[in-house]
Amino acid sequence: MIKALLAGAMALALSGCMATLGQVGQAIMNPAIDEEMRIPTVNRAAIEAADLAAVMMISPSSNIATVGVAIQMREGRINYSSNDNRGVTLQGGLVYATLGLGTNLQAVRTQADDPLVTEAAAGAWPTEVTRTYVLSQRGTVYREIETRCTHVQGARAQIDVVGVMRDVVEVGEICKTAEGLRFANVHYLDVRSGRIWRTSQWTGPIQGNVQVDVIDQFDPDA
């Protein structure tokens, strides 16, 4: 999987064309899923009837796929947790933390105008975004991995997000760490609001990319 991501990222960096973005998106969003991974069946009607904000979380590196519902909001970040306490914390559309999906991501520090956090429309993304990923280590210290990401806007499309077709704009990010590690993120933003419907984001050198599909958006006014 990591090799596929790196190969995709390198190809995208070299060409920068839309066709390649599509290929990278396909490579990331449709990983060669191990036979052991089971994608859970989602009862969308029940989720919508209960008015629950919910996401599907897929971690190809650990063969885990699970559904989480929003259980907490802390400092503007939403915690989604599954029945077996696996979860992601989303800050807007940014995967801020993960639990139980592989090697946990503790936190992500990012700039105030990070378009994933502000859920900016595809045309309003800054040229470059700097994010710092925090992973626990031995003792009380933690490892920080600073990344710089540039984006490439793709085409509008309709995608199936857990049983519902969504009008989206595809945005790819090519990121590089100070140590030279490269990876790619792919996001599918709502055409009108800029909110994330599907995203595959890097969450650390071991866990790699985690895919989040938004089943039902969190509505702070609900």
Binding site: S82, N85, L99, G100, T140
Partner: protein
């Protein structure tokens, strides 16, 4: 059935002088075929190597405590043609220069430092990588230039250093090619060593990684020598399995003002919820008490060795179920016999930490350590101990040249049983049977020996390895003690007492063990020979640095009546790995240093069902008559160390996981 599953590997050794030069190993350091190559440069890398050739066998441990330094401990045995020679060697390799785009790396090493058998060998080696090909060229001294003299090691018990990197030299060079075929590596080398068949030596090897970490190599050279090498390579910090793939932790809930305005649960309700939720995480509660502002809980995981993570999971659930008035959580660690430490955690501090990038550090700052009081008020829940029997069978394998002339694999099956009257008091016994490569029984010596008379004991039949009773108790909150009596090990039985002072907030402990033993009979299970001994040994146990490193220093009167000092250094990992090396010095011995190494690999490192079990490997250890102590008395620190403050801090990165 006993809850642990362990396979024990061990090697015992004695040194026999030699004079001939044969195949030479690298003592656990990085090598091409038989010549040095630069270390991998990956910190924490660990290698166990077994070399098997017609005239040479060796078991070696190699470890890289940092990306520049590698340390090896090796137990070679040589067939000299007229007899056998075996050693006990400590080796070091140091990378002096890193490889650059245009410059090679430069490393230097000393193999067999202080060896009283074959003397040391030194080398410098330069290495350069070209794609999948690694080339190395260097110069060797001492045993790598056919200067095999004991004078290059020690002189009447004193380690010599004036010979290092001095005298004749011989060149060597090697090529190691990673073929690109998965797991297949080819190596070829030249060395200026002459042998029976040729003036110079050319060697080649073909290596294949059978599965992750285990490599089989075939070796050949133009001196008519063929060989086989098994090597196991692992890095404790790089799990075979990805971390955090099991059930996630309970969501943390801050103690907000809004929660204070809701109806508050009573102690029974809190306990019921806590027990139900922790059960899902395989954590059991053995004691629970709730006061006005404090909840006091003793809990342990059935499957997780990481105390910090278990504590974090308990506190996460407590955050959700505890009444708003509770400001302090007291989490007690229990070793089985003792309440060994109490972590006192400020709830408000956890509230501030949750979700922050430095959440682990903030949680640590909200935690202090205290001794568990001798008497505590009644608890709402306290597990009642039920006396019971546990038993199991433990196979062990030894590469042994105490009872054979060469490094020969032996196998022993030990059936053990334990009846516990209380958490503090037990009786246990073990029956052993050596099913592979028995020794030939020697006539008992005129005067019973200390260790060197092992072959006088009866082979070929089941023997009583041990039968002891043990009681552990605390004299004061920070003073742990033990009394033991019975047949401690194959050679000794008697009585033993121990006291350890250990303050929970300190990173060291002090211990004293006094033991009186009688030599056990060579022929029957319960008899004794007419020989006795008294040992009095003081110990310092210290956790140092930030990497899980520890030092154990033992000093005092040992079995031979000699004053001896033992030193053990090692590293604990939060995932249950433990690496240790030991050496000892005695006022009576003629060899300056003997070495041993031990390795514990957690089964959870390779399988999610591994639980708390470990696979244990050891080399060296007590074998000579001097500097030897009685084993099997039940040293207390072995059960206390898991709850050392420093060990918990080293694992604290997993607190929120």
């Amino acid at each position: 059935m006993k809850s642990f599953h362990r396979v024990l590997w061990a090697i015992c050794c004695v040194a026999i002088p030699s004079s001939a030069a044969l195949a030479e190993g690298l003592g656990g350091l990085s090598q091409a075929v038989d010549t040095p190559r630069p270390a991998s440069g990956i910190a924490e890398e660990l290698t166990v190597i077994f070399d098997y050739r017609e005239d040479y066998r060796a078991l070696s441990f190699g470890f890289q405590p940092s990306d520049r330094l590698e340390i090896g401990i090796s137990f070679p045995a040589y067939d000299t043609g007229t007899g056998s020679s075996s050693g006990n060697e400590l080796s070091f390799g140091l990378r002096l220069l890193d490889e650059g785009p245009f410059i090679p790396s430069l490393s230097a090493g000393i193999v067999g430092f202080g060896s009283d058998d074959r003397g040391s060998g030194e080398y410098i080696v330069a290495g350069k990588t070209f794609g999948s090909l690694h080339a190395a060229v260097g110069l060797g001294w001492g045993r790598y230039a056919l200067q095999n003299t004991p004078e290059r090691g020690s002189d009447e018990g004193t380690i010599r250093t004036d010979h290092l990197f001095a005298g004749d030299t011989a060149p060597f060079a090697s090529l190691v090619w990673n073929t690109g075929i998965e797991g297949l590596v080819v190596a070829a080398e030249y060395s200026g060593l002459s042998g029976d068949a040729a003036e110079d030596t050319y060697a080649a090897s073909l290596s294949y990684e059978v599965f992750d970490g285990l490599t089989v190599s075939g070796l050949v050279n133009n001196q008519d020598s063929l060989g086989l090498r098994l090597s196991f390579q692992a890095n404790p910090t790089r799990a075979v399995l990805q971390d955090n793939i099991g059930r996630g932790p309970h969501p943390y809930l801050e103690n907000t003002a809004a929660r204070a305005n809701r109806p508050q649960p009573n102690a029974q309700q809190v306990f019921d919820l806590l027990e139900e939720r922790l059960e899902k995480e395989d954590i059991q509660i053995s004691r629970f008490a709730m006061g006005d502002q404090t909840i006091d809980i003793t809990a342990s995981s059935r499957s997780d060795v990481n105390v910090a993570r278990t504590t974090g999971r308990v506190l996460r659930v407590l955050s959700a179920v505890a009444p708003a008035r509770i400001t302090t959580f007291r989490v007690t660690q229990n070793t089985g016999a003792f309440d060994s430490a109490v972590m006192v955690v400020d709830r408000a501090g956890l509230d501030r930490a949750i979700g922050q990038p430095d959440a682990a550090e903030q949680a640590w700052n909200a935690t202090s350590f205290a001794a568990s009081p001798m008497e505590r008020p009644d608890a709402l829940h306290e597990s009642v101990f039920e006396p019971g029997l546990t038993y199991g069978i433990l196979p062990s394998f030894k590469a042994d040249f105490v009872t054979s002339d060469s490094l020969e694999l032996t196998g022993t099956l030990t059936a053990n049983a334990r009846y516990s009257f209380s958490p503090q008091t037990l009786i246990e016994g073990a029956l052993g049977y050596r099913f592979l490569n028995q020794w030939t029984q020697a006539d008992p010596p005129a005067e019973p020996g200390i260790r060197s008379d092992l072959t006088s004991y009866t082979p070929d039949e089941i023997y009583l390895q041990s039968l002891t009773t043990r009681h552990r108790f605390r004299l004061a909150p920070q003073l742990y003690s033990r009394v033991s009596a019975g047949l401690f090990e194959r050679a000794y039985g008697g009585v033993s007492g121990e006291v350890i002072w250990r303050a929970p907030e300190q990173n060291f402990a002090l211990g004293l063990e006094a033991t009186y033993v009688q030599k056990r009979a060579y022929e029957d299970w319960f008899g004794f020979e007419d020989a006795d001994a008294t040992t009095v040994i003081g110990s310092l146990y210290a956790n140092v640095g930030q990497n899980g490193d520890f030092i154990i220093l033992d000093a005092g009167q040992h079995l031979a009546g000699d004053f001896a000092v033992g030193l053990t250094v090692g590293r604990n990992y939060s995932n249950g790995w433990r690496i240790a090396a030991s050496t000892s010095w005695s006022e009576e011995t003629d060899a300056p240093l003997k070495f041993g190494a031990a390795l514990a690999i957690p089964l959870s490192w390779t399988t999610p069902q591994g639980g708390k079990g470990t696979t244990d490997l050891s080399v060296g250890g007590p074998s000579g008559d001097f500097g030897s102590r009685v084993s099997g008395t039940g040293l207390l620190y072995d059960e206390l160390r898991a709850s050392d403050r420093k060990r918990i801090e080293d694992a604290w990165g997993e607190f929120w996981n």
